[in-house]
Symmetry: C2
Subunit: 360 residues, 2 copies
């Protein structure tokens, strides 16, 4: 897919130029604690080393690397946020260690290779934004053969779920279509134009918007109604861009709630900070965005809803085929195909279904 | 100002590609009735004539021109909405009269010059979106010397107003800054980084967002607390792009409400369909977006708020300098400077003020 670089810059990077948006990430305690502990519980990875922070934003990770004893930190940021990062570095007395460089990591030249690449590159459902491409590019160009990645591993998860959102979206959609038919009548009566030929494209547009667009949601653990399964595992040291262009998985899940409604599926991710095989972490740190009563993140979960929901019972088995590709119009967005067959405990097979979703 | 065409296309045109958005305009009764009456009360301008519809969207204006007897209508639309317009034309049996052409009007070549240019090019506060540039370009290239413009005239208005929004925005802003200082404390305590050097840029960002961004609002007429004044008059037949690059006006207004608060200023516009001097309309039609109890439009009014509001009384005189320019970053957005001095009936002059606003 061909990307116009200027369009991508205008659309993708604009929000990151706002301190307000950086602050939202800086206020995510789960995110912050994980990276903080990853760095300070593993000082041996930073002390006296050279570090590259890909997409430094406010500069926070670069500053921590500096505080943990790095000899030199290159902090690369595509947006004007780099200017704030530079000021913050100075105010925290690290101007001799942390060098903030404004530019896309793809275009930047460093004077040396580095021991560690640290980056917070995870988008919704891990891969949205496709920023990990840039981290892979940085790794292949600037990480020493003995280097380590922070984080070192990532996984994507999928689980069956229930939510009132499914009903709400369905009734929003019905409302919108009801409005449409009033609109057709009025346009014919008042303005002499018959617009009914647009009903099909309008209803497709609305269906995509209300029913096929996956949603951000912060689920309570008890909304997860069956076992969660891993749909992708990534070793950040070795994965290629080609490996993350799509995600394909055949998984099974077993309903764990008593009588309930299967309203769709929830996706989330976790990443681990383990260092490398030759140079392992002293203390492994995990950052998870799984549904949690106490520890929610700004990533929440990505929700794919079924319309209408399906009645399921404890022990029912789901066989799910999941496939995710990048959107042709915008390589930072995703399209998902999800098919599922349900085998009830009695052995009876329900009619399988197959749905298409957009991660916008 | 240099505009990247691809960025402009991606950002500006994307919403117009949705039927949902076209429908919102098609549901604006004030807008629809004005254009409908302009065409059908002035059939002599259309009957047997050639017409160009600049930015046909769903095709509605082109179809009306065809129904009013046009010999030929060229309906130009930049987005894929052109495909829906083409279907709609066919379904209304006008495929021999209305030719839908997909493309930017700037790039399109017509086989002949036209008698009428019709277009609904008005953005918020008339000039936002800068689409009238494209209409002027079309006029200079494709309108016969004897041709007429639909609409033929446009005006911008400004009036003093009151609104609780002023208090709300002020307290939102205070809340955001309160959050910021908590955030500073927590980041220092929990993560060992002093971010106070970012207070100034953050507060500028927030001030711009909460206090300096002008707002869409649908005002009740009794929220207008003084006389309205015209700040710009446009003759669509003769105006040049240069004439609309900025708006400068020195106006006065007199407070007409008893004791009240001056919370800011409201801007709106009207357009008229008068034909041309040589070829006047049989029936002049007006489309106004002024505050109205019964006839609100999707344009609403553009509101520029003062923080804090100022106490004023009936008879107080305002001398206002208004100046609007296009934003350097995006030629479809605007920046406003508004200064005002208030002379009370007693003759006492209040401290004059000068504010900067963004129309985003
Ligand atoms: N290719 C690229 N080159 C440089 N910076 C990039 C980039 N792609 C994304 N970014 C930047 O990466 C940042 C990701 S958000 C993370 C910010 C910061 N590291 C923190 O953890 O708080 C954004 O500021 C974004 O502008
Ligand atoms: N330079 C240009 N060339 C072609 N179409 C343009 C254009 N600038 C804006 N447009 C289109 O003009 C339309 C304006 S909205 C008005 C739509 C329609 N005429 C109606 O009255 O309902 C949008 O569909 C937009 O895509």
């Amino acid at each position: 897919t061909v990307v116009d670089k200027d369009v991508d810059f205008a659309n993708y990077f604009c929000t990151y130029g706002f301190l307000y948006h950086q602050k939202e990430m800086l206020c995510d305690r789960v995110r912050m604690d994980s990276y903080y502990n990853a760095v300070f519980d593993n000082k041996h990875h930073f002390d006296g080393k050279t570090v590259l922070d890909v997409g430094t934003g406010s500069g926070i990770l670069a500053i921590w690397a500096g505080q943990a004893g790095a000899r030199k930190v290159y902090a690369v940021e595509a947006t004007k946020m780099s200017e704030h990062a530079r000021k913050l570095v100075k105010a925290n007395n690290l101007q001799d260690v942390v060098e903030v460089i404004e530019g896309s990591i793809e275009d930047v030249t460093l004077p040396e290779k580095v021991d560690v690449i640290i980056s917070e590159w995870m988008g919704y459902f891990l891969l949205r934004e496709s920023m990990f491409d840039s981290v892979i590019c940085a790794r292949d160009r600037w990480l020493k053969p003995t280097g380590v990645m922070y984080p070192s591993n990532a996984r994507m998860w999928l689980a069956p779920m229930r939510s009132r959102l499914a009903d709400q979206k369905m009734s929003d959609h019905e409302g919108a279509m009801g409005d449409w038919f009033c609109f057709l009548d009025e346009t014919k009566t008042n303005y002499g134009v018959d617009m009914s030929v647009l009903t099909k494209p309008f209803s497709e547009e609305q269906k995509k918007y209300y029913l096929q667009t996956s949603l951000w949601n912060n689920l309570h653990p008890n909304q997860v109604v069956g076992t969660a399964a891993i749909i992708k595992e990534i070793d950040c040291l070795t994965v290629t861009v080609n490996d993350i262009l799509n995600v394909r998985a055949s998984i099974s899940s077993s309903i764990s709630a008593e009588e309930t409604r299967l309203c769709g599926f929830a996706g989330w991710f976790d990443v681990h900070f383990r260092g490398s095989k030759e140079n392992p972490a002293q203390q492994e740190i995990e950052l998870t965005t799984a549904p949690s009563e106490d520890y929610s993140t700004h990533w929440g979960q990505q929700v794919f809803l079924l319309h209408p929901p399906i009645s399921v019972s404890k022990g029912d088995d789901l066989n799910i085929n999941f496939s995710m590709d990048r959107s042709k119009q915008n390589h930072r967005l995703m399209e998902v195909e999800l098919s599922c067959e349900i085998k009830q405990t009695s052995g009876k097979l329900l009619l399988p279904f197959r749905n298409k979703f957009y991660i916008e």
